[in-house]
Amino acid sequence: MSTTDAASTGLPDRTTANPAAASSSLRAHRRGRGVERRDNPLWGVLAWAVGFLFVLPVLWMVLTSFHSETDAATNPPSVAAGLTLDGYRNFFGANSGASPWPPLINSLTASVVSTLLVLLLAFPAAYALSIKPVERWRDVMFFFLSTRFLPVVAGLLPLYLFATRTGTLDNINLLILLYTAMNLPIAVWMMRSFLAEVPTEMLEAAALDGAGLVTTLRRVVAPVALPGIAATALIAFIFSWNELLLARTLTATVAGTAPVFLTSFVTSQGLFLAQVCAAATAISLPVLAAGFAAQDKLVQGLSMGAVK
């Protein structure tokens, strides 16, 4: 396509080159590869250096979380100071009255339940947009996508008014519904792109063999789509776990989530760096673990299935 067009117009035409030049370019090409391979250690060193630079703040956060408050607040930094679990002990409520467990459990509930709801709603929808597509399925897809473009902040007031009128303010169920709506468009897009990969011949063969809908879904669709479903779940979980604006506006003491706790934790505790780092590390841990475990799925999810 366009790439090959650009290549053929922009580069010397191979057929007009004389054989000697071709063979010399072939040798150059082989040599070039060899040079590239010998060059590798240097690129590798550079890549490792840049990688280290990017991960450094994270490492620093984790290291500081294991330092005592006095070692955490030195200048220059005390890298080799002794390690302690005091930061975590304080975070989990040994000193302060506020326990992080209710917000952590709220976050877990909101993320897991809304992710399950998202999968439950998105799978049939994706089926109706790819395997047995409704008419004008593209318009439906773009409608879903356009809702993701709507800034959350523009809907904040109606949601708040609704919550106060119905008595669902500070109720985790409201957050679950909103997180489901927030992630549903992404999930529909991702799942459709995965279901579209199920070969039609396989579906036709299953239909000829007299397989019903459930059997077809289980035997033909699921094996192909399962990795995609996992990717969808990962992304929905991460976005729900991270969400701050809605949680801060619509919850208070009962249904507050971990990110809300993290923001209030700092203002109420003053500056205890080791403790703040312990809190930040503890709350990021589920996302870090899930993201590292499923790195490849991350790309598919973030691009809504557009990049595989």
């Binding site: 290549a7 072939l26 890549a47 956060m61 809702t147 902040v153 523009a154 949601l159 489901t180």
Partner: protein, 323 residues
């Protein structure tokens, strides 16, 4: 969009009056169409109720004078709230802040992401490990990342940045190292830096996937023809990557235009860092001016639609490729 729907149904209705199939056949076809639509309906209805209805309310309230502190003065005021948005200097500033923040973060993380993707596209020892290290910033919870930057890195007395300055100056025997109050001297740049740190991995991941899906035979052929590394990049890699660059830029813009966590946590909108989402949050929460907050929301939505229509066209081209 709905007018398009009407047009389509109108033509099919017209066709139906010309060609009249037996009654039972029409009913069966209609039943079949609904059977196809059925699995789609729960998700569609759910999305409409939870995303479209609130926005309609916002639109209505934006034309009202409604302050929670003065409940008796509630009523419609026409375009007053919109006039206030564009005559209020502070609100105009937050529009500009939003644009600057979004453009800087998206462009810089896109360029850094491209360089990193090109680096990771090479074969070297421990490539998987380096990729894992590079992804880490994106996996830190945004609020945690903002706190990490504010307190552990940028703090003027014991943050890592000033700590490293002290350490380096100490190596050369100087006991008066430069100590910078990063957040107060460069508030917007500090927020941008923390966001670039988080979003560069995102861009890198998308561009790396793009690089690895590039047709290798074309690269091979170009190399055979004696094309240099730059020519290969310019004529093969870059045209192929363009769609991925666009995708990264558009998705990044959508998320960063809406950024609330970093501004809220790092500066609370002080020192000229208040972007639109933060300003709306403030108008709504502190000033409790519901009408003005809604009008601001509508303005953000209109701005986003401008980006979105462009985005949809790009994504549409991805569809064409697929089919």
């Amino acid at each position: 969009m709905s007018s398009a729907t009407d047009a389509v149904t109108a033509t099919t209705a017209a066709q139906r009056t010309v060609y009249q199939p037996p009654q039972g056949e029409v009913a069966r076809a209609r039943k079949k169409a609904w059977a196809r639509r059925l699995p789609l309906l729960p998700a569609l209805v759910f999305t409409i109720i939870l995303t479209q209805l609130p926005f309609v309310v916002t639109l209505v309230v934006s034309f009202m004078n409604w302050e929670a502190l003065y409940p008796t003065e509630r009523g419609f005021t026409g375009f007053d709230n919109y006039v206030e948005i564009f005559s209020n200097a502070q609100l105009r500033t937050s529009v500009i802040t939003t644009i600057v923040l979004t453009v800087v973060v998206v462009l810089v993380s896109l360029v850094l992401g491209l360089l990193l993707a090109l680096l990771l596209d090479r074969k070297f020892f421990g490539r998987g490990a380096v990729r894992t290290m590079l992804i880490a910033p994106f996996l830190v919870v945004p609020v945690a990342a903002a706190l990490l930057w504010k307190h552990a890195l940028l703090n003027p007395s014991y943050g890592l940045f000033n700590g490293v300055l002290t350490w380096v100056w100490g190596l050369f025997g100087s006991d008066s190292p430069p100590q910078v109050a990063w957040l107060t001297r460069f508030p917007l740049v500090s927020i941008e830096a923390s966001l670039i740190w988080q979003w560069t991995p995102f861009m890198m991941l998308i561009l790396l996937a793009g690089l690895q899906s590039r047709p290798l035979d074309a690269v091979e052929a170009a190399r055979m023809d004696g094309a240099g590394a730059f020519q290969i990049f310019r004529y093969i890699t870059f045209p192929h990557l363009r769609r991925y660059l666009e995708l990264g830029a558009l998705l990044g813009s959508i998320y960063i235009v809406q950024n609330f966590d970093a501004v809220f946590t790092m500066t609370s909108g002080a020192l000229g860092t208040a972007n639109l989402p933060y300003t709306i949050y403030q108008t709504f929460f502190s000033a409790q001016d519901y009408g003005l907050a809604s009008a601001q929301g509508v303005v953000v939505v209109i701005g986003t639609i401008a980006i979105a229509t462009f985005a949809l066209r790009t994504v549409s081209s991805l569809f064409d490729e697929e089919n």
